[in-house]
């Protein structure tokens, strides 16, 4: 009989893989954020390393390119004293025709303890989690359009750091939401943490209407979307989307949905501006906003390392 248990949790309800924020209980999300707070202070120490993953091997499996996410996972694993092996899978086994599960079986034979997986196919990390040995843990570092849970969690850490309480907030997510796994993870996390007002802002071609079913307010008007917001999450406009018929041009997009000081003035005076990076200056965000006093884009990067340390140390300490 098929188990209905959340594949991320063991029988005691403890986190053993991080695959998606969807379906995670609020207390686990909060535990990750609290633990990240502890790890943030490790940066202030003379020895910026703790031995929790000493003797463990973390394999970074990036079937899709990403320098930033891979690097922050690598730093996080190293700060936990793990041995980190980076595999540029896109250029090796997959291109030679090896199946995903064969790759995983081979790496498991090399005594991997944790896989950090980025894949262009939604669900690939689930497949790996279902087929790897019981002692192996899997972290989803972004799968297709589905989820990017550590980005969602670091966004929640950033919001909590600057705004303290989730239950009074208005959060606007702006841009290419239809293709964004970050947006999906953010929406699940914000909902789980009790944010009452979540807005998805962008043109009709990039903001799916079915988001309303997730309790999100869909706005195709930028002014309406960010008016009175406490938090504005700008998404990267992916250049590869430009080729289709989804948008007239980058310049046109910036005119309507690009975040300028003028539009930012509609948000709350103490609003924070976030972006998962890499930013396209002059496409989705004006330089003066990206570098301005409301921007918390660089703190997001710093918090991202602590959040990834938290996730890896929590799952590594729980048995399947």
């Amino acid at each position: 009989m098929l188990s209905k248990r959340n594949p991320q949790l063991n029988r005691n309800g403890e986190l053993i893989h991080l695959l998606s924020i969807e379906g995670l209980p609020r207390d686990i999300v909060t535990l990750i954020l609290d633990t990240a707070g502890t790890f943030l202070s490790v940066n202030d120490r003379e020895v910026k390393k703790v031995p929790l993953l000493r003797g463990k091997s973390v394999f970074n499996l990036f079937f899709e390119n990403s320098t930033r996410t891979r690097t922050t996972f690598e730093i996080a694993a190293k700060r936990l004293s793990a041995d980190v092996i980076n595999l540029d899978i896109a250029k090796s086994s997959a291109s030679k025709g090896e199946s995903l599960l064969d790759t995983i079986a081979n790496l498991s034979a090399m005594h991997a303890d944790m896989f950090v997986v980025r894949h262009s196919e939604s669900g690939a990390p689930y497949l790996i989690a279902q087929h790897c040995a019981p002692h192996v843990h899997v972290v989803n570092a972004g799968d297709g359009r589905h989820a990017h849970p550590t980005q969602g969690l670091l966004d929640m850490y950033t919001i909590r750091h600057f705004k303290k309480d989730f239950t009074q907030l208005s959060v606007a997510i702006v841009g290419d939401i239809v293709h964004s796994r970050v947006a999906r993870s953010d929406i699940h996390a914000l909902t789980t943490l009790g944010v009452p007002d979540i807005r998805a802002v962008g043109p009709k071609t990039l903001v799916p209407g079915d988001l309303r079913e997730m309790g999100v307010r869909v706005c195709h008007d930028m002014a309406e979307g960010i008016r009175g917001a406490d938090v504005i999450i700008m998404l990267r406009l992916q250049n590869e989307r430009m080729s289709g018929a989804m948008l007239p041009s980058a310049g046109e997009f910036f005119k309507t949905f690009g975040l300028t000081p003028h539009k930012l003035a509609l948000a709350k005076p103490d609003a924070i501006v976030m972006h998962p990076g890499p930013i396209n200056r002059g496409v989705e965000i004006d330089s003066s906003v990206a570098d301005g006093s409301h921007s918390v884009i660089l703190p997001q990067v710093t918090f991202g390392i602590a959040v990834r340390m938290a996730v890896m140390s929590i799952i590594a300490g729980n048995e399947a």
Binding site: E14, D34, T35, V47, K49, V50, G317
Partner: protein, 167 residues
């Protein structure tokens, strides 16, 4: 003496006197989270020491991480002074196997190289599994290994001991 007869407040008075005798110039008190941190806070005040006491957590150096995972809700280490070259006096409520103190010493060294590290505790209950001893213990008792002895602090700041059977 059985655990239930332990008068934590009376023992604190003895600890205060014992710690006073251990004080070196420039010593920094560091309480082991959580019971030791409460004791260090009160000792810092009652001894009239300048500055703030330190708090240290064993969570990131525990030797049972592989089987027990990361302790939920643990508090972070906070050492509001430079550790390098400083004599450190660790304070804890109960000294048992010595494993927490081993972890805490590792944690301490992540912040620098102290000139010395000593330990003062409210209760030494024996059962050591590592070569670690307290420079001062306000009380020495023997308890069955399955019993967990821990300090609790009430809203008024008063100390009592609680005993429970380990799960």
């Amino acid at each position: 003496m059985s655990a239930l007869q332990l008068d934590a407040e009376a023992l604190y008075t003895e600890l205060l006197a014992g710690v006073r005798r251990l004080l070196l110039p420039d010593v920094a008190l560091v309480g082991v989270w959580s019971g030791g941190a409460w004791l260090a806070e009160r000792l810092q005040r009652d001894l009239g020491l300048p500055g703030r006491h330190g708090v240290i957590s064993s969570a990131l150096h525990r030797d049972d991480f592989g089987s027990r995972g990361l302790a939920a809700g643990h508090d972070a280490t906070s050492l509001p002074f430079a550790v390098d070259g400083r004599p450190i006096l660790l304070i804890d409520d109960v000294l048992f196997t010595g494993r927490t103190i081993r972890a805490v010493i590792n944690e301490l060294y992540d912040f620098g190289r102290p000139s010395s590290v000593r330990l003062a505790v409210l209760v030494d209950r024996g059962g050591r599994e590592l070569p670690i001893e307290a420079a001062y213990a306000a009380s020495r008792i023997v308890l069955p290994a399955a019993q967990r002895l821990s300090l609790t602090r009430d809203d008024a700041g008063g100390f009592t001991f609680s005993v429970r059977e380990a799960s």
